[in-house]
């Protein structure tokens, strides 16, 4: 998003904030419009319309799966249905309005959209009638979501799929080169959270307006944080009490971090274009530090903006960063970096996996259990960013790092305890921990941003003067 877009959204948030009644519906309409507005234009132009529409449809389907009869009544939800239908049709009508500054004008024909909406309404109606085999529906829906996520994270697979679909329609398959589904990683994780918790009986059912608002809440749509439905719903239903100065300063802090610091650091940040030209190890370190700081300021800047915008709307989004580069070990780093994502993985993967392995008939030594669970979790976190060898290795780098740190701290604790008896020694331990953790994380970024692990390895050799 650009500075102008953020400022426009801030003004919109302030206006929505002024509403005493119907805030939930207005917010729903605004969020739905925003996801069309900020979606990047696709090579296959009508996909720019269909992708946000699919996001809305998918969200409604998951609401149907996770809701109960009590909250599914027409009386409670007609407003949300009308708002969502209205937004989809309004955006589609831009083919007549031609307001290209807001959205593409090459939207699909209205008849086609109406037929799609009718088909979707029939599917939704049938889904709402399902009373048996709900557990199977949950599993199928969640696995389907995982499959979509995997597909979207393998660019070549998705391109092949789209090209096949286009070819089957008798059109030139060259139309589909790259597609990007803005915010899908976050949307999918919110939907999975509701499906899993609902299936486990931990989640209270909510109305359509609350549910869709939670999933596509515009401040957090494209870059998180990943909130929890019950917490979000509580804020949404409470009367608004905004501390304007806190909200405003958080928003401007985010703008400054992203558009001044991070974008300024981008001029020096190491990349696949820059690294072949850097011949000195010292400069390579300098550019790598710039990258490391840039990714932090960029991402945490977006989070600050999201939290600031959320505050303006009366929603206190969860924190995502807590000075991660100042943490003395890797465990603490991961407790303060992209916190909502790690919490998600902890809740829905790491803890269940650990429980499963502990309760399995094969008895594993504790160190092996820690190693396997941490490694697999971190590799999955890596793959969440994209299914490439680089992301997998980045995850593995952190998985191994967490394991080594875990074992090392166990081993060191009694030995250090006797030595660590003055404030000076405590400080030495703390700052050397920060130093090593920061450098371990920074070196790990090489796997994250360079196009392939071979390049990352080459840079690592250069950094240590071995190439």
């Amino acid at each position: 998003m650009s500075v102008l877009q953020v400022l426009i959204l801030a003004c919109v948030a302030i206006l929505v904030n002024q509403l005493n009644k119907g805030r939930s519906f207005v917010l729903l309409g605004v969020s739905a419009l925003v996801i069309y507005w900020i979606h990047p234009v696709q090579d296959s132009i009508t996909l720019t319309f269909w992708i946000p529409t699919f996001t809305l449809m998918l969200t409604v389907i998951f609401w149907l799966i996770t809701s109960t009869l009590e909250v599914r009544s027409w009386k409670q939800n007609w407003g949300a249905v009308l708002v969502l239908l209205g937004v989809v049709i309004l955006v589609d009508l831009n083919r007549y309005f031609q307001i290209t500054s807001l959205f593409i004008a090459d939207t699909p024909r209205v008849q086609l959209v109406l037929v799609a909406l009718l088909g979707f309404a029939i599917v939704s109606f049938l889904l709402s009638r399902v009373k048996k085999f709900l557990a199977i529906v949950f599993v199928v829906a969640t696995l389907g979501l995982v499959a979509m996520l995997v597909l979207l994270k393998i660019p070549s697979a998705l391109t092949t799929l789209i090209e096949t679909v286009i070819s089957l329609r008798g059109k030139d398959a060259g139309e589909a080169s790259v597609i990007s589904w803005l915010g899908f990683s976050y949307v999918a994780f919110r939907l999975m959270h509701t499906a899993i918790d609902r299936n486990a009986g931990r989640l209270k059912a909510v109305t359509l307006a609350e549910y869709v608002n939670y999933v596509i809440f515009f401040p957090a749509f494209s870059a998180g944080p990943i909130d929890r439905l019950e917490r979000f719903s509580r804020d949404l239903n409470e009367p608004i009490s905004v501390n304007w100065l806190v909200a405003g300063s958080r928003l401007f802090k985010g703008l400054f971090k992203k558009f001044v610091i991070a974008d300024g650091l981008a001029w020096f940040a190491l990349s696949d274009i820059l690294f072949p030209n850097v011949h000195s190890a010292a400069w390579m370190w300098f550019f790598l530090y710039a990258y490391s700081l840039r990714i932090y300021f960029d991402f945490s800047g977006y989070t600050d903006m999201a939290i600031g915008l959320g505050m303006l709307l009366g929603v206190q989004l969860p924190e995502n960063f807590d000075a991660p580069y100042l943490k003395p070990n890797l465990t603490q780093f991961w407790n303060s970096w992209h916190m909502t994502l790690t919490q998600w993985f902890r809740s829905y993967f790491f803890n269940p996996l650990t429980r499963f392995m502990r309760s399995s008939k094969i008895s594993l030594p504790i160190w092996l259990l820690i190693f396997v669970t941490q490694l697999v979790t971190m590799m999955l976190i890596g793959l969440w960013h994209g299914i490439t060898w680089g992301f997998l290795l980045w995850g593995a780098w952190h998985g191994v790092g967490l394991f080594v740190q875990n074992r090392l701290s166990e081993w060191m604790r009694p030995r250090v305890a006797a030595w660590n008896n003055t404030p000076r020694r405590e400080a030495i331990l703390k700052y050397s921990g920060i130093f090593f953790t920061f450098h371990y994380v920074t070196l790990g970024w090489l796997f994250f941003f360079l196009p392939n692990p071979y390049m990352a390895w080459n840079v690592m050799l250069k950094l240590f003067g071995a190439a």
Binding site: L245, G248, I273, L274, P276, S280, W283, F287
Partner: protein, 369 residues
């Protein structure tokens, strides 16, 4: 006891401060463009800064003062130096080439000397074919004490334009002054005059694009000095252009075959350029072009120029040079096809080296008679 700040006061204060800073900036007019980390903290640039949208480590700067301040020609001239300035468009700048293999760089690699003095060639090309831009550069370079100015021109350079470009609008006052002083009938003069800076353009807000690019230029100095080059992703050019065929169109822009080009060429600007060079000897060069041999090559030399227009241009240029006794070299067909990277004007590093070798005797005869 502290009182809770009221948001409205904060907004009013912020807005007032914003207005005040903008007004102060407009009143003080700080000479930002003259400030540069180049030639002081980091080495001066081999060529003018010019951006490439695919390369995040580049920036386009169209303010002449800031451009020259970043260039190595702004460093103090050594007593044993003979300074040669190359003025021209993208072919002189070195489109798609590393700064180490441009014409100027390869010329310097010949290691020329004269009477114990080192001949140093400076790349002052800029990827925009405009004779008005060239005049501004020739005027600016005077202060850098050149011993020779070599001015590369081509048909596109001399064509009177119908549109403005960011370079001309970015230096509008200077361009307008130049047009008036030398009576150059530049077509979009009025549009340029209308776009000339109002008060808003002098405020911090009005200058924000320039300031952002200036800041980026200074920051990139660190990157460029670290890697020793200003372009980090030169294209992977093939040995020869893919096709030797050209388009069938016989027109030159909107002009049909047989049109009189004198009406469309800014020939008066050539005279202005020679006057602006002052005491420094000026050699004018008609730069080499790709001469296609494939389909429709009987109509056009290449995708840029139909034969009729280019032949007429060469005749006019030669006649002008002869009548004014200007030093002039026509090198239009001196570089073989294999030494181009495209079917226009841009040379392969081998072509740049060949061109330097071909120009060298003329240069030596000027500086080392």
């Amino acid at each position: 006891m502290t009182t809770k700040p009221r948001p409205i006061y904060v907004i009013v204060k912020a807005f007032s401060l914003f207005l005040l800073i903008n007004l102060l900036y407009a009143l003080i007019k700080p000479p930002v463009a003259d400030i540069s980390v180049y030639n002081t903290l980091v080495p001066g640039l081999e060529r003018m800064p010019f951006g490439n949208s695919h390369d995040p480590y580049t920036v386009t700067m169209d303010n002449v003062d800031a451009m020259f301040a970043a260039h190595k020609i702004s460093a103090k001239k050594a007593s044993n130096e003979i300074r040669v300035a190359l003025i021209g468009d993208s072919s002189v700048w070195g489109d798609s080439l590393s700064s180490h293999v441009t014409l100027a760089a390869q010329w310097n690699q010949l290691g020329m000397q004269c009477g114990g003095k080192q001949i140093k060639v400076y790349n002052l090309g800029y990827p925009h074919p405009s004779i008005i831009k060239d005049l501004i550069f020739i005027d600016e370079v005077k202060a850098k004490q050149p011993d020779v100015v070599i001015w590369f021109v081509t048909l596109n350079t001399l064509m009177n334009q119908d549109r403005l470009n960011p370079f001309l609008t970015g230096n509008s006052q200077r361009v307008l002054q130049m047009l008036d002083e030398y009576h150059i009938p530049f077509a979009p003069r009025e549009t340029l005059a209308e776009s000339d800076a109002g008060f808003y353009q002098t405020t911090l807000m009005g200058q924000r694009s320039f300031l952002a690019r200036w800041l980026r230029l200074q920051a990139l100095g660190l990157v460029w000095s670290a890697v020793g080059d200003d372009v980090h992703s030169p294209i992977k050019y093939s040995e020869t252009p893919g096709s030797l065929d050209v388009i069938k169109d016989p027109n030159y822009r909107t002009l049909p075959p047989g049109s009189d080009l004198r009406e469309s060429l800014l020939l008066t600007a050539l005279d202005a350029g020679h006057q602006l060079a002052g005491k420094a000897p000026l050699l004018m060069v008609n730069e080499p072009i790709f001469v296609a041999t494939g389909m429709h090559s009987e109509i056009r030399y290449n995708d840029l120029y139909p034969r009729w227009a280019y032949d007429q241009y060469r005749e006019l240029l030669a006649a002008q040079a002869l009548s004014n006794s200007w030093a002039y070299l026509d090198l239009w067909n001196t570089i073989p096809l294999k030494d181009f990277i495209d079917t226009g004007l841009h040379l392969h590093p081998n072509g740049e080296k060949l061109l330097a070798e071909k120009l060298n005797p003329a240069l030596l005869s000027m500086v080392c008679p």
